[in-house]
Each structure stands twice: as C-alpha cells, then as structure tokens.
Symmetry: D2
Amino acid sequence: MALTIGIDIGGTKVAAGVVDAHGLIVESLLKPTPADNPAKVAETVAEAIKELADSYEVEAVGVGAAGFIDETRSVVRFAPNLAWREEPLQRKLTEMTGLPIVVENDANAMAWGEFRFGAGRGESHLIAVTVGTGIGGGLILGGAVYRGRWGMGGELGHMQTVPGGVKCGCGNLGCWEQYASGNALVRDAQRMAAADPERAATMLKLAGGTPESIEGREITDAGRAGDPVALDAFANMADWIGQGLADLASILDPGCFILGGGVSNAADLWLDRAREAFAERLTGRGHRPVADVRLAELGASAGVVGAADLARLP
Amino acid sequence: MALTIGIDIGGTKVAAGVVDAHGLIVESLLKPTPADNPAKVAETVAEAIKELADSYEVEAVGVGAAGFIDETRSVVRFAPNLAWREEPLQRKLTEMTGLPIVVENDANAMAWGEFRFGAGRGESHLIAVTVGTGIGGGLILGGAVYRGRWGMGGELGHMQTVPGGVKCGCGNLGCWEQYASGNALVRDAQRMAAADPERAATMLKLAGGTPESIEGREITDAGRAGDPVALDAFANMADWIGQGLADLASILDPGCFILGGGVSNAADLWLDRAREAFAERLTGRGHRPVADVRLAELGASAGVVGAADLARLP
Amino acid sequence: MALTIGIDIGGTKVAAGVVDAHGLIVESLLKPTPADNPAKVAETVAEAIKELADSYEVEAVGVGAAGFIDETRSVVRFAPNLAWREEPLQRKLTEMTGLPIVVENDANAMAWGEFRFGAGRGESHLIAVTVGTGIGGGLILGGAVYRGRWGMGGELGHMQTVPGGVKCGCGNLGCWEQYASGNALVRDAQRMAAADPERAATMLKLAGGTPESIEGREITDAGRAGDPVALDAFANMADWIGQGLADLASILDPGCFILGGGVSNAADLWLDRAREAFAERLTGRGHRPVADVRLAELGASAGVVGAADLARLP
Amino acid sequence: MALTIGIDIGGTKVAAGVVDAHGLIVESLLKPTPADNPAKVAETVAEAIKELADSYEVEAVGVGAAGFIDETRSVVRFAPNLAWREEPLQRKLTEMTGLPIVVENDANAMAWGEFRFGAGRGESHLIAVTVGTGIGGGLILGGAVYRGRWGMGGELGHMQTVPGGVKCGCGNLGCWEQYASGNALVRDAQRMAAADPERAATMLKLAGGTPESIEGREITDAGRAGDPVALDAFANMADWIGQGLADLASILDPGCFILGGGVSNAADLWLDRAREAFAERLTGRGHRPVADVRLAELGASAGVVGAADLARLP
C-alpha cells in the first residue's frame, strides 16, 4: 500500500510522519527547527525524511511551510518566520533525498488534511482558518487546493478589517489577524484588565498580578472560571471572527468553515458566539443556506497528514 | 458553425443576441423589461429568444440575471431588482422556447465574456468587478466560472469595508459597495458641494445650482473641467476600490482584475489612483507579482456574449 | 418669593411651569405643539405663558428649545424639528407677553436643572447627555452653562465616532448619535432579530412577529425577560455611550456625567456596562480620578425647571 | 513695571525667560533637561529661575510642563516624558527659589500665550492644537484657561478617532494623535514609499534610499519638490486634522483654532486642506459661523510667554 511522507515545518519544531492512503500516521518524529540558521532548515527536513524513508518504502514527500510558495510548488518565495527568500526548497530536498517532493503552504496542507480525513469530509468547497497568534488560511474549492495565480491565495488574515486600524506585521493597517487572533485576545484582555483590575481579579490573580503578564492560558482559565473581562475579550474576538467569515462567505460561498489553531482549544468560550456573529452578518441571509462553522478534527497532525496526501496526487 | 443566444436581463432592458463561437454578435435586439410585473419578465425573455431563433439555428441559450442563482443554474433564488423569489426560470424558459437553457448570474456572464473574448484573454484567474450604482462581481478561477457551494459566490460588493459604516440595502453596515460605487461618488460629491459651494462651483453650475441635483454625469463633466471637489470625490472612490481589490488579492491572488460598469466610463478620472491604492495596500508587496488592473473591453455586450458562450459549455 | 416660568418646547408637546427659587414646580400645564405650523409655535408658547402669568406673579421666562440658539440667547438659528430658521423668538415672545424672556437650548436647560436641583448638585463641571432618538448635550463648566462662541456648543451627538459610518441627519457620516441612541438600539435589534429570529424569539413575539415592528418598548421588555438579542443590542449601545463619554472626558475632564432621555428609563439594562466601557477607555486612567456617571434625577421636568432657573440669572 | 518669569520644560531643553506685561521677553536662557534623572529636573528649573531673578526683579514664576497637572496647579500627577509621578513641583520650586510659583500644563501655557499676545488676541473662545510627534491641546474658554474638574482637560490628542485603530502610547486604540501628527505623517510616508518606490523617488532620494530612513524633514522637502507620495501623506494628515477640529467645534464652538507645533513649519503643504476638511465636516454648516483656523504666531516662545503671563494672574 502506497505510503508518503508529510512534513510540517513550524517555527520551533519540524514534524514528520509516514502516512498511508487513509490518512493514518504509521510513524512520526519531531526535530527542533534550527530557526536561527535558515540554511540548516532544509538539512533538518532532509534528515527527517531520510530517517523515515529508511524504515518505510515511500513514494513521495509533501512539505508544508508557512510562507508564500510559488505556483509550481517548488520555491518558498518569502517565509517571515524562517528568514527564507526565494528558497528553492523542492530542488534542495530532491537532491538531498532522491525522492519526489512537493512544497505546499502549511495552511493549505492543513486544509487538505481536514478536507480528506477530518471535519471537511464530503464538502467540496471549504475554507480552513487557523486562529493562533495570527491567522492562517487554506481554501479547498471544487475539491482542490486553491492556490491562486501565483501560489499566494488564501492569505485570509490580511483582509483589511478596520480602515486605519491596528498595525500589522505585513506593513498594512487593520488586517483581520490583528482582531481575530490570539494576539488580539491578549491585547484586549491586558488593556481591559489594566482599566478595571477589580473586574478582572480572577484573571489577574492567575497571571501573578500584573496586566502585562496575562497570556492566552490565563485568559482561558479565567474565562472558564467566569471572569467577566476574560469573557469580554473572547466575545470581542469571536465577533471579529464571525465578521471575517461573513466577508469570506460573500465572496466564496463555501459549504463550511473549519476553524483550527491554538485558540480553538478554548472554543467552548467563543465558538458559539462566532457562529452567531457570522450568521447575523452574512449578506443575503434568509435567501441562502448558511455554511457550517466547524472545529478542525485532526489537531496538530492535520498539516503532516495533508502534506503527505497532497504528495500522492499527480 | 454553432450559434447560441445570450440574454442579459437588466432592470430596464432585456438585451439579447445571437453569438458565434468567436464571441461575435451576429444579431441583437433590445426589449423593455416589464419590471413592475415580475411574472411577465420570463415571457419577454422567451419572446426575445423566439424572435432570434426564428432567423438563426441556435443550440442553446444562456441567460444572465442579477441575483442569487442556485448551484444547478436553474432557479433564481432572489433577485431584488426583479422581485423574483425562487423563480424556476430555466424550466419556464425551456417550456416556452423548447431550447436548452442555462441561467447565470449576470456578473458571472460578464466576467466570462471578458475572460473568453475581452480584457481577460489568457488569464486563468481573474476577478471582474462592475462598478455601477452598486458593485457586481464575477470570479473566473482556474479557467472556470466560480459559483461557490450554492451558487452564491462573487457577491463582492458585500464584504464589510467599514465596521459600523453606511447602511447597505442588504441590511448590513459598511459594505464595500457603499464606498466604491457610483452611489458613493454621488453621495460624497453632494456632501462636499454642500459644505463648500465655492470650491464646487463648476460642478454646481453644471447641476443647476443645488447639491441635491448633482448626479454622476455632472461629477464626471466637472472632474474633466478640473473641479477640485469632483476630483476629490473620484479620489475617495478610487481609494476604496483599490482597498477592496487588495483585500480580494490577499484571498484569491488573481492574475488580473477587470473593471467595468457605468463608472468605468469616467476611468480617466480615477483608474490610475485606484491602481496606486491597490498596489500600495497589497499585502506581501515586494514579495509577489502585482495583478494587472484593467478596464473591461466588451462594454455593455459582455453580458450577452458571456451568457451565450456559457450556454455552449457542456 | 420670586417665581419664574420655564418652558420646554418639544416636538409634540409644549411643557410649561411656574417654578420657585428652590426648583419646585408650583403649577404646570401642557399644550400640543403645532409642529406642522412653525409660525404658530410662538403663539402657543405665549398662550401658555399668559395662562400661568395670570395666576402667579412671575419675574421672567426661560424658554428651552431644541436647536441652535444664538449667543445672545434671543434667536433660534436653526431648529430642525420645528422648521425654524433665524426665528427671533425672544422678541416675539416679549412682544406677546410683556415679560423678560431668555431662550436657551433645551439640553442646556436640562443640564442646568440637574446641576442646580438634581443629580449634579455640588459639581462645578458636568456634562449632561440625553439619550433619546438622538443625543442632546448640555455642558456646565465652572458652574455656568457653556454655550460656545456663537451659542452652538454642546452638540455632542455630532462628534464623529465611526469614520465613514452610518449617515446622520446632519449630513455627516458616523456621528455619535447614530450609535449611542434609541434609534441605534432599534436598528441593531431589528437587524439582529432578522438575522437570527430564533435567538430573538422573545422580542419578536412581543413585537408581533416581524423584525420591522420592533421598537424601544419591545427591546426593553425583551431585555428584562432575558432575550439575548435585546441584551446584545443594549450592550452595543452601552459600549458606544461609554466610548463617547471617554472622548468627552479627554477634552473636558468633567466631575460627572448625567445621563437622561428616554433610553435612561431602561438604564438597568445598560448603565453598568456603559460605566465599564467609559472607565476602560478613559485616557490616562490610573493617573486621574474617574468621573461619576449618574442618571438624571428630575426626569421630564428638568427642562422646565432649568429654563425657569436660567431666567432668574442676571 | 511688573516682570514675571516663564519656564517651558521640554524633553530636551528647559527654556526660561523674563517677560513683561506686554508679553515681551526681556531676557531668556536655555538649559539641557536632565531627563534621565527626574529628581534633578526641579533643580535645573530652580537654577534657571535664580539666574534670571538675580538680574531682574520678578514677582512670580509660571512653569509649563507636559503632563497632567492637578487642579491646584501645584502637583504634576503624571508626566510620561520626565518620569514624574505625583511630583510636588510647586512646593519644591517655592522652597528652592522663594518665589510664588504656578505650575501649568505646557499646552495651556502655549494657548494662553497665543490668546494674550499672538494669533488669538481678541478671541474669547479658542482651542490651541500643537501638532508635533503627538498632539497637545490647550483650551481658552470665556477668556480663561480651561483646566477641567481635576486639571486634566484638554487632552485633545486622545479622543478616539478610529474605533479599533492604531495603538496609542496611552494604551487605547485609535487616538486622534495617531492620525493627525508628525508620527502619523512619517508612518504613512514610509508605508507608501515602500509600496511604490518609483512614485516616491524624490522623497526616497532625499532620505538616502530606504523607506525606513524617511523622516519629517524629507517628507517636507519632497513635498515642496512636488513628490506625490509626500503630498498624499500630508493630505491624509490634513484630513484627520480637519476631522478632529470639526469634532471639537461640535462640542465647544470656539471662535478660532490655533495650530502650532513642529508640523506647522510645513503648513504650506497641508493647512489649506485641513481648513477645507474642517469646513466640510462641521456639523450644522450653513447654519452657523465657521471658526477660523490660524497658525500660531509666537512660535517656540509661546510657552514661556504664556506661563509667565499666567503667573501674573491672581
């Protein structure tokens, strides 16, 4: 039975796995990402591939990386976290491993994994949104990964949401990921706790007393304990998530949205509200079906599974 | 040589044409739209088809209409201008004419016409935006019309552009078409002329003296005569157009945009600025190609030509 | 003991009262406002004055009216609701009644009433905000009514709150009163109920089933019955109220705010949240006292009492 | 003839002057501000006072400092630039110099200087706005400095202008000074130059080639040489300045605005546009006088002259 390898290059870890045609991970391994040395990242990935390929007969390798990947799925044009510019990753890895390689945007790989084996099975048109420190996006349209003319589609986090809004790392103002992400959640919680420490007492206690030390973990724990400021911060974020989904639905009319990423671990605190906000702001509501808003099912392994499966396609 | 008929149902006129496989209109006719009597619109369309089919041997008919068309291209779910709700237009027209019928969103038909025979030839991924009183959108992705899961994709005018912004006919606040359209142009020109009649003297004179009587024609003429208020109104609109294109590019990474609609007749007054605004706000600029922003080439006949050509597809 | 008359000209009723130096209303009467006949409004006011002056010895009359009053407190420059333009109200009423007359903006009169005899006693710097269909504002600074250079200060409802926002009757976009008023409450509740009728079931039932028939009364009743959509609509409004108070505090640093107007009858549903939003957004919080946010105490009679008392000043 | 001393404590220099009753500076001196040692700042000020008081018989001293000054004009509650918290400046300086001291917010001192001897002579109600890296504000209402209930009025730069907007040093989002200041000008110019280097060629050349090295000086020089990107950056800033003035006029209805600060040195590039934007957005325009928007006349010495004159008042 045909096996392929999937790789997910993260900022801190390289995850690799041998995956079968049903999306099951037969074996996996993790290596630290040498993020301070971009030239060494490809070597680390090649080592992971070779270790796995020593034990299993694999046909091909799919590699997911955060960044702009060119339309031939070969070159990483720009990867902010890894300091890559026009990195010919496919060629390098092919030379180092002797295996067929495809390179894919990591959010696309995740979206494909969920489409084939997770929350998106059976949906031909879906939009995957990973809500972490920022936002990642993967589009599956008509049953295929949508990459755009030059491979740069799906940068959902950089729709402008607030004209003149919060400055984004991309250089623009008011990008969606400045409002609908874990970073936004922390910013709002810190600000509100500084403004009304009494109301945020639970959260501040968890964080050791100072607003600046509030992180996602404390907001989540405080929210579950009923802290009103934590709940407000989640509600703000949920409203912005819902708004962005409504914007995407007006353009792409997907059958469902799949939400993943670190913030989805606290989905009990915001998912219902995001669904409401989405439905409330959907243009043409009442005259159209409303897309499902679902949580991802594959968790952290979606990227490995999706990349491996994409390597299997012709 | 295979001929098909294309129909473009507008709010005031039904345009119909016999079109050949090269996109040339062999014969055309216009009929007034009985907009006050939605039940009669299908009859008028059928009459137009029969008149043309009497003189030419046609294989099929493509009908473009403003509104939400279902994913089977048969039923008009909701067409605000024609007061249709769940109108089974394909079935009705087939019964009345005996010809194969496909129903298509009018902006999709226009986009397809430009893709096949106009400004979009050779581009596999393009976004057509018609800027008139509102905004219409048609997506050609991977060389095919993109309709979405339920046929409702491409409602580009209803992305939220300004949170809490100007109320839109769709019920939401701050939709793109409230800022990047002819209506917005008129609203801004009237407001600025009321505030500073002296500065808007040229435009006011053309409009007969009162801000309320300023319409698109006067703004265009005044702009060409150098009226600073008219030019400011165009600049505002151009900035919002550019912003919206940048948002769409972050999601869909098209090879080009094609701008049409009534406001494009004054493109000399705003297109360069819209291009600048787009390029300036494009996320990842410097690390990616910048999509062309082009004017439509087929003018008012793009809808007829596109609908006819779509009828030819299997 | 010196008595004066206070008049409050509303859109539907003219309220008049004889008031003593302690702010007590000795006698009062109401007359319908002939709003369709602006020329008759002054006559109606004069009749009310004469009726009261027949029974009581009064020194002077204070007349509060919605609109721009000139800096000599004589002329109503512009009163949208009564169709007055440059109305010489003081002269007319003096001629008709033979009594000394001062004309005052109605929100200033209300603010003065609360300052002298209501919720603002003892505060030298206060800002009164009446939240009704729109917003009215009255400033008491350093123990005196603040009118501005030409009598037009205190138009608080027309600060721009959302750039490019909801169109205001004043011709601008995004004025505060488009977000922090009863009209905004109704707009939001209707919109949200249309989007999610199930969630708004209680409110819709109270309103007879259709979103369009929802008015303030139903939102209030539904909110008290726990309807989540009604509560969300109040929360939105409260957040905008709090934001506007924070803006005013950054400019004017008042000792307290006094909130009145029709929406304050439902203060149990939004006042606490408005206070929180204010405190959270106050610039320099932690380094300054936070102004009290209080409800008005005099209710509908504040305007009559305040106008009467202002007539007593030299 | 009575002389007083005025002091203007800036982030880099302490300016001091002996001023006569006509606002003329008889003698002046400058000392570097020991900004890294807040405890020493008062000593430096005291030395300056003593040096001047040795040669001139002075009655009193007015000290202007950036920060929140309490309502008794004695204590600096909070001065971000000098790291003062609850600094009893009046008491310290009185002890060190033996002279009567009043402490005043520096923008108030500047506003008073312009009111008494500069661009604001004869206007009873004026608003001074200093546009530098941020915004400072001073209010003269009814011929007196307006300080607010606790001395913290006039923080004009912290009105919220864009909900969810650019983060401000004060902890809030979207404050006016994030859009209508030299910092905003530089941010916009850098962003636009990065997006379209060709169009910003003049400005980039002046700045040595890279967007990051563009500062105010280069934007001004480039604007005067016709660089379109520099002119756009000034136009953006001017529009936001005009909007803020319109907001202030709706609240306070001043007779004039006086604009100063570093950015006013380039007023030829933006003042007319700011005036237009103000007039266009003024609520009730057409039914009210439009306040003058003037440049400050006293330049850098306004603070010293104003502080000295305020010391003269009882």
